[in-house]
Amino acid sequence: MYSDKVMEHFMNPRNVGEIENADGVGQVGNAKCGDIMKMYLKIEDETIVDVKFKTFGCGSAIASSSMATEMIKGKTISEAMNLSNKAVAQALDGLPPVKMHCSVLAEQAIKAALYDYSKKYNKTIEGLEDFNPDDDAHDHDHAEEH
C-alpha cells in the first residue's frame, strides 16, 4: 500500500518534537477525524532554521509531516510557502489516492505556522492574505469508493 519511502519516514520520522519559544506554531486537522498536525518553526532572517512537528494521524500523515519538515528546513519563507502537497507526496514516491489529503495537512500545517509567525511579528507573507487558520484545512473524502 505505501511506498518504501513512506514507510521509512513513518518508522524514522525526522524532526519530531516541539520547539520552545517557536517563532511560529500551526495546528491543523481535527481529532474527530483522526488527524492533527502541529508544526513549530524557528525563523531567522526569513529563513527556517529549525522545524519540528507532532502528529496524531495515520502512517501517511506522519510520513508527510516528516518529509515536509525536511523539505523546508533551511529554506526561505517564500520557498516554504511554495511547497505543495503534491511535492511532498512526490518526494515520498507517491501516496495512495485516499491518502493524498494527509499531504494536504502537511502543506496546511506549514502555512498555519507561517501565518502564526506573520501575526506574531506583524509581517505580511505573500500567499497568506486569505489564509484562515480556522478553516478545516483538510477535507476527508468520504465518497463511495474507499
Binding site: K32, G34, T55, F56, C58, G59
Partner: protein
C-alpha cells in the same frame, strides 16, 4: 527473521492442514458436476450432502435446511433481501442493530432505498442490543429481525435466546449473522428460535469463498441466485465442491474440539487483556467483559491513531486490525465503536487483536512487549499526549 504473530483471526483464518487434505482430491480427481447422472457426479453430490448433514447436526437443523453460499456476505444478503421481497405483502419493516456487519447494514440500507423501513437498534456501552427498544419497535408491519450472534469487532455476544423468543412471540422472522459465532459457540437453532442463520467457512480454518445459510423449513423466502436447480432450486450455480468439503471438515474439527479451543483462547485472551491493562496507561477495553468471543480483544489507546498503530505492529511482524477488516481503507471510524459510545478520537485509536488456534502464550508476550514500545513511540509523536 522477525517473529510473525497473526492476531487477525476474526478477519480470516489460515486453512488447517486436515481441511486442505480433505479438499485436495476434489480438484483434479473428484471433479464431477453434482447435477450429473454419472457416478463421477453422484459421488460429489453425496460428498456435498454429507457436509450438509454435518453442518445441520452442528446447529441442530435438518440437512434440507442448509444451503451453501459463497460466504457470509451472500448468506446475509440472501437472508435479508430474500425475506424482504418474499414477504412485502405482509409488511415492509425490518429491525436490526447499529453494530451489524456491513453485509447486513448495507443490505438494509439498500432496502431502505427500495420501499422498506429499517429500525437500527441502539446498543449499550458493552455492545448489547437494547431489548426494550427491540420490543417497542415491533409493529404489525415488521417482517424480520436481524441481529448478529456475536460481533466481529468487539466480540460481544448477544442474548440470542431472548431475541428469538421475542421474534417468535411476535411472529416475526429472526435472522442471525453467526459468522463470528460459528466455531466458537454451541448453537441450537431450535432452542434459540432462529429462522435463518449465516455462516462462513474462512472464519473457522476453512477456505474462503464458501459459507451457508440455514433456512428453517417453511420460511417464506425468495431465491437470491436464479439459474440451475442446485440447492433444491434455491441457489443456482455449479457447487464449489472443494470449498464445501473444506467447510465440512473445518466445522467438524471446530465442534470436536470446541471446549479445548474455548478454554485455551479464553485464557490467552484474558492474559492479553490483563497484560495490556497493567502495562499501558490510558487504554480502554471495548466490548463486554465476559459475554465475549473467546479470541476477541479490542482496546482503544488514547492519543494515537489506529492505522499508525497497525503499521508499526506490522513492522514487528504482528498482524492486527482496527475495526472490521472490510472497512480498513475507509477513513471513517468504526460504526461499532461509535455505537457503544466512544468519541470519534478514541474510536480512531482502537486496535482489534483476535486470537486463534495457532497462537501461543509467547505470542501474547511478544505482542504486549511490542505494544508497549509502539504505543509509547506514537504517543511521543502525538500533539494530544502530554507526558
Amino acid at each position: 527473521m522477525i517473529r510473525q504473530v497473526y492476531l487477525d483471526n476474526a478477519a480470516t483464518t489460515p486453512v488447517k492442514k486436515q481441511v486442505l487434505d480433505e479438499m485436495l482430491p476434489f480438484f483434479k480427481e473428484k471433479y464431477g458436476n453434482p447435477s450429473s447422472i454419472y457416478r463421477l457426479g453422484q459421488e460429489t453430490r453425496n460428498a456435498i450432502d454429507e457436509v450438509r448433514e454435518k453442518v445441520a447436526n452442528v446447529i441442530n437443523a435438518k440437512p434440507r435446511e442448509i444451503y451453501f453460499t459463497a460466504g457470509g456476505s451472500e448468506a446475509d444478503n440472501w437472508a435479508i433481501k430474500g425475506i424482504a421481497f418474499a414477504n412485502k405483502d405482509k409488511g415492509n419493516h425490518i429491525i436490526t442493530s447499529k453494530i451489524e456487519h456491513h453485509g447486513v447494514l448495507h443490505t438494509c440500507e439498500y432496502l431502505e432505498k427500495n420501499g422498506f423501513e429499517v429500525t437500527y437498534l441502539d446498543v449499550d456501552e458493552n455492545g448489547i442490543v437494547n431489548m426494550e427498544q427491540l420490543k417497542d419497535s415491533i409493529t404489525d408491519k415488521t417482517i424480520l429481525i436481524s441481529i448478529m450472534f456475536a460481533n466481529n469487532e468487539i466480540g460481544t455476544i448477544q442474548p440470542i435466546e431472548e431475541i428469538g423468543k421475542i421474534a417468535r412471540d411476535n411472529k416475526v422472522y429472526f435472522h442471525t449473522d453467526a459468522v463470528q459465532a460459528i466455531g466458537n459457540i454451541n448453537i441450537d437453532v431450535e432452542k434459540l428460535n432462529i429462522d435463518l442463520l449465516s455462516m462462513s467457512a474462512h472464519k473457522l480454518y476453512g477456505p474462503k469463498g464458501v459459507g451457508a445459510l440455514y433456512i428453517k423449513q417453511g420460511v417464506k423466502i425468495h431465491p437470491y441466485m436464479h439459474g440451475g436447480a442446485q440447492e433444491r432450486n434455491r441457489r443456482a450455480g455449479t457447487e464449489n465442491i472443494p470449498g464445501i468439503i473444506g467447510f465440512g471438515k473445518a466445522i467438524e474439527l471446530a465442534y470436536e474440539t470446541l471446549d479445548e479451543h474455548n478454554e485455551r483462547l479464553t485464557k490467552l485472551r484474558d492474559k492479553l487483556i490483563r497484560d495490556i491493562k497493567e502495562n499501558i496507561e490510558y487504554v480502554r477495553l471495548n466490548g463486554h467483559p465476559d459475554k465475549r468471543l473467546p479470541g476477541n480483544v479490542n482496546f482503544s489507546f488514547e492519543f494515537i491513531e489506529g492505522e499508525s498503530l497497525l503499521l508499526s505492529l506490522d513492522m514487528l511482524g504482528i498482524c492486527a486490525s482496527s475495526g472490521s477488516a472490510c472497512t480498513s481503507g475507509s477513513l471513517d471510524p468504526s460504526h461499532v465503536l461509535l455505537a457503544i459510545g466512544l468519541p470519534h478520537e478514541i474510536a480512531h485509536g482502537s486496535l482489534r487483536l483476535t486470537l486463534g488456534d495457532f497462537n501461543t502464550e509467547e505470542d501474547v508476550d511478544y505482542v504486549v512487549e511490542s505494544l508497549i514500545k509502539v504505543v509509547d513511540r506514537l504517543r511521543q509523536m502525538s500533539p494530544l499526549y502530554e507526558n
